[in-house]
């Protein structure tokens, strides 16, 4: 199966690889997936006082599409408010990266990672956790 150019681009030059201080109050961390399933994503956001995401970092264990999905997610998150970030849908990622059907779960994982990071931030800052839809796969 051939990868799309955009997947190869994100895979070869992943954006925003790295680690934010997970103990910091304005950092939210989402760790989703499982090693047994062959993919684990850790996505982190740094949020300013106006609820705007100023920085985003990721590290991913997984296939090229999983790495590309999380790399793309960090790009999209930067500059968005938390509420805007919640509207990112996995199918947007599928479309942007031209993921084939067998790789849709990678985009689902990226969406889960975004929501999980936002919830971590919310809970840290005294807000209630949002109800997240159960994992789709």
């Amino acid at each position: 199966m051939a990868y799309s150019e955009k997947v190869i681009d994100h895979y070869t030059n992943p954006r925003n690889v790295g680690t934010l201080n997970k103990d910091s109050k304005n950092v939210g961390t989402g760790l989703v997936g499982a090693p047994e399933c062959g993919d684990v994503m850790r996505l982190q956001i740094e949020v300013d006082d106006n609820n705007v995401i100023t920085d985003a970092k990721f590290k991913t264990f997984g296939c090229g599409s999983a790495i590309a999905s999380s790399s793309l997610a960090t790009e999209w998150l930067k500059g968005k408010s938390i509420d805007e970030a919640l509207t990112i849908d996995n199918m947007d990622i599928v479309e942007e990266l031209a993921l084939p059907p067998v790789k849709i779960h990678c985009s689902v994982l990226a969406e889960d990672a975004i929501k999980s990071a936002i919830n971590d931030y919310r809970v840290k800052n005294g807000l209630e956790a949002l109800e997240l839809p159960k994992s789709h796969h």
Binding site: Y11, T19, E36, G38, K59, F61, C63, G64, I67
Partner: protein, 403 residues
Amino acid sequence: MELPIYLDNNATTPLDPRVLEAMLPYFTNKFGNAASRNHAFGWVAEEAVDYAREQVAKLIGCTDKEIIFTSGATEADNLAIKGVFEMYADKGNHIITATTEHKAVLDTCKHLEKLGAKITYLNVKEDGLIDLQELEAAMTPETILVSIMYGNNEIGVVQPVKEISAIAHKHGALFMTDATQAVGKIPVDVNADGIDLMAFSAHKMYGPKGIGALYVRRKGPRVKVTAQMDGGGHERGMRSGTLNVPGIVGFGKACELCRLEMDEEAKRLSALRDKLENALLGLEESYVNGNKEHRLPHVANISFKYVEGEGLMMAMKDLAVSSGSACTSASLEPSYVLKSLGLSDDLAHSSIRFGLGRFTTEEEVDYAIENTRNAVNHLRDLSPLWEMFKEGIDLSKIEWAEH
């Protein structure tokens, strides 16, 4: 050196140019049907088939009458197992095989289960070899066949076939082996090994695709299988269908080349394989899968912990290898062979199989080492698991989100 480099010789091998040369006339001016008994075109084809049959037989130490040509090893596996099940139905219905067999054997056995066969799937030990005591304990008076592969396609381990056949025979069962990965690579002698039926294929030994054979013992005991393909009664009635003459000629030539060059080639390949393996084991947290002593000379299966195999292969973009990871399959299940060794799913997902071959050069191996090393390091820089491991976090204690 041309890129990409082919290191997937367990999947298939390139056709040796000497084989192609032998085959070419049989596509054009020597196109006859080997079953045409009444004109020169048929005789020429028949003579070529007879000659090739001898070349094939010589490689495995049998007589030419014991070779049944098929379309490949999958068909030969089917013919052997289904054919024995039918032919020996009044003797019993029990077949013993192992969990690490090729799907051509496992799925054939599953099919027979629906038809009333009892199948025992032996587990393997951590090193991929079966436990002979377990085999002995599984034998029953109804056991008609033991089917254990010679060399494994994913990890390259070589089963103790002599001991296995002795146990099968002691209990009155036949011994069949899928030797697709072994024939032409290491010495296989059906008499020394006590083999009654053996499947193998040309395209794994620098011959063409679409041709293989089933060895069927004729003496001590005389083994019979019920045909699975009915028709003109070719191949002593066991496999009807017009013979693939160019394929058979190529198969014969490929067998002859393997027989003449195997000793030297096995030495060369195991030295290259060891070089590759030792260099890559220099990377932290990398492990060889399968027994290192009893295995084929050209295969190395290595897990690089904390990186995922498919992602890794993408970074090894100049190398054609394969992975035990199955991120592309609908089931997302990693290799059942690696899981049978007791490997955890994450290590199975992290595995890469390197399959060297006749045309692999040392320069290519050096390149492969460098490319793999860089790829593993690149992906570990991206891996949250690697970071956690480096921080001393016990990954088995983390509650991973189910997905």
